[in-house]
Symmetry: C2
Subunit: 321 residues, 2 copies
C-alpha cells in the first residue's frame, strides 16, 4: 500500500503537461482561434503548469493545410505569434506523430520557441521513432517517446521496445492508454514494467490517459503514486473521444504550492463552456465505455457520437463482433 | 500490489446493489413513473444485479407526501405494484435515513417484499441507527449500516462507531464517500480501518461512492480489490450532484458470468437519455470538483447547478472561505 502520509507532501520531480491544444485539437480539427490559445498559454503560466503542448507538428506533405486549423502543424512562426520569445517558466512542446511528421520541419532548438518534442509512435514503428528522437535530441530539444496503445501490446514486445528507447537519447518514456481500457490495478503493473527500463537507463516516465471508463484521472494519480513524474492533463478533459485526465482534477490533487487550480477554473468558464455550447462534443459517454471495455480504438465510438446515435446496446453488439 | 491475475477471475461474495431509484431520486424528487421503475426492475434482473434499492422509506410525518414522488416513501404497497411477490433472484432494499424515518413504517419482513433495510446515518446518530438496525433485524430483514460523510470523520470517532455497529446484528457496514472527496489511495486506508472491525465481528463491507472528482468507479474497484463485497452503482451514474459509480462501468468490470452489462446499456438508451434531454441534471462538473476537493457537502454545488451558473472560479472563492 502506498503511504498516505506522502499525499500531504509533494515530489519536486513531478511535471504537469497541458495537452489541450493537441489532444483537444482532435475534437475540433485544431480550429482554436489565437485569442483562445493566448489565454490558455497565460492560464498555464498562472497555474504553474510545466509544459504546454502547442499541437502536432504534422507534415504538410501528409495533411492538407486548408482542412485543419494551424495547431495541427504548429510551426515555430505560429507559436511565436502567441508567445513571442516565451520568457516564462512554462516550457513548450509539439508532437511529432511517426509516419505523419517530417523531421526537416524541425529547426535547431536554439532557433525555435519549442523546448520539448514529443514523439508519438506505435510499437511497430520504434526504429523510425528513435530516428526522430535522435534527430531532435541532436538539434537540442528535450524529447519524449509516447508509445501508443499500450493496452494492445504484448509484454514481450513492450520490453523490447523499452530496451530500444532506453538506449536512445530520450528524456522521458510515456505510458499511453490510447483506448482508455486500463484499470488502475493494471496500470500499476505497467508502471512496474516501464520502471525496469527507466531505472536501468535513467529516464523519466510519463502518463497520458483517456477517460473511456472514467479512469483517466484515477490512472494518472495511480501512476503518480507509483513514481511516474510527467503527468498529462487537458482543460475540462478536452481530448479525443472520451477525453483525457482533466487539468482541474490534476491540479486540485497535486500539492506542490507552485500549482494553482484557480486559473484553470477561470479559463474553463471563460473559454470552454462556450465551446461545449457551440456543439463541440467530448467526454465520457457509454459508447466510449464500450470501446474501452473491448480494448478497441475509439474511432467507431467517435463515429457513433458524430451520428448523434444513442442506441448504446446496438453499438455494443456491433462492436463486440 | 494487488494481483492482476485475480482480475480475470471473480469473487462469489461480491454483491452489486442498484441505488438508482434512491440516490437518483434525489435529483428528480423521486418522480419516476411506474413504467420506468418496472423496466429498471426487469433490467436489474436481466443484468444479474443482486439488490435493487426501491427508494427511501421516509417518514410522512417528516416529509410532505404531495411534494415528492412515491419512491421517497416506498411503502410495501408501492413496491408490490411493481414486483408482485418478486419471485426472482433480485433482492429488494429500502433506505431508512436516521432522523427522517419511522420504524413503525416497517412491517415484519415476512409480510413485506423488502429483503434489506439500509440504515443511513451520520456518525453522531449511531445509537439511533443501531436501534433501527436491531428493530429491522428482529423483524427478519437483512440490514446494512451506511455511515455517511466518512471523509469528514475523525479516525478515533470512526473506530468507536465501527465498534458499536460491529457489536450489533448488522450484516454489512458501508463506507460512504458522501462528498466525493476521497482518493483511491485514501480509500485503501479507510478499508483497512473498516476491516479491523468487519473481520473481528464477521460483517460484510460495502462501498457507496460519489463522482465529484471522477473517482466513484475508481474508488469502487479499489475497494473491491481490497476485499469490500457490496458495491453500489446507479444506472448512468444517476445520483445527487455529481452522481455515483455508473452501473455500466461496474458491470463491465466485474467478471462473474452472472453479470451482464447489455441490459444496462439498453435501459439507459430507452429510459435515461430522455431524462437528460428533459433537463434532469446530474454528473461530474467543475462545481462538484470544488466541493469534493474542499471536502464539503455538495449542497452549494447543487444550488450553483440549479441556478445555471458556470462561473466556477467565483464559486471556488465563495466555497473556499
Amino acid at each position: 500500500m502506498k503511504q498516505i502520509e506522502n499525499m500531504l507532501g509533494f515530489r519536486e520531480s513531478i511535471k504537469v503537461v497541458d495537452a489541450t491544444l493537441r489532444d483537444g485539437g482532435l475534437v475540433n480539427d485544431f480550429f482554436f482561434d489565437d485569442e483562445f490559445v493566448r489565454r490558455l498559454y497565460q492560464a498555464n503560466i498562472d497555474a504553474g503548469v510545466d509544459y504546454m503542448e502547442m499541437g502536432y507538428r504534422a507534415s504538410k506533405k501528409v495533411f492538407d493545410e486548408t482542412k485543419f486549423g494551424k495547431w495541427k502543424f504548429s510551426g515555430d512562426e505560429h507559436i511565436r505569434e502567441i508567445v513571442g520569445d516565451n520568457n516564462t517558466p512554462l516550457k513548450l512542446a509539439v508532437m511529432a506523430d511517426i509516419g505523419r511528421h517530417d523531421k526537416n520541419d524541425f529547426d535547431e532548438c536554439a532557433n525555435s520557441p519549442v523546448d520539448l518534442v514529443r514523439v508519438a509512435t506505435y510499437i511497430h514503428q520504434m526504429p523510425e521513432a528513435i530516428d526522430m528522437i535522435e534527430d531532435a535530441h541532436k538539434k537540442g530539444y528535450e524529447t519524449s517517446c509516447n508509445i501508443m496503445a499500450v493496452s494492445n501490446t504484448q509484454e514481450q514486445d513492450l520490453r523490447v521496445a523499452l530496451e530500444m528507447v532506453g538506449q536512445s537519447s530520450v528524456d522521458c518514456i510515456y505510458i499511453v492508454d490510447s483506448f482508455g481500457s486500463i484499470y488502475p490495478e493494471q496500470m500499476a503493473r505497467i508502471v512496474d514494467i516501464y520502471s525496469d527500463f527507466s531505472v536501468k537507463y535513467g529516464k523519466k516516465l510519463g502518463i497520458h490517459a483517456h477517460n473511456n471508463q472514467q479512469l483517466a484521472f484515477a490512472n494518472t494519480i495511480e501512476c503518480c503514486g507509483d513514481g511516474v513524474d510527467w503527468l498529462d492533463g487537458t482543460y475540462m478533459g478536452m481530448g479525443r473521444g472520451a477525453g483525457n485526465c482533466a487539468m482541474e482534477l490534476l491540479l486540485g490533487f497535486l500539492k506542490n504550492p507552485k500549482y494553482n487550480v484557480y486559473p484553470v477554473l477561470r479559463f474553463v468558464e471563460q473559454n470552454m463552456v462556450s465551446l461545449k455550447q457551440k456543439g463541440i462534443v467530448w467526454g465520457y459517454d457509454l459508447q466510449y465505455l464500450v470501446t474501452g471495455l473491448l480494448n478497441q480504438h475509439p474511432r467507431t465510438a467517435i463515429q457513433f457520437t458524430k451520428e448523434g446515435r444513442t442506441d448504446y446496446s446496438e453499438f455494443y453488439k456491433e462492436t463486440f463482433n
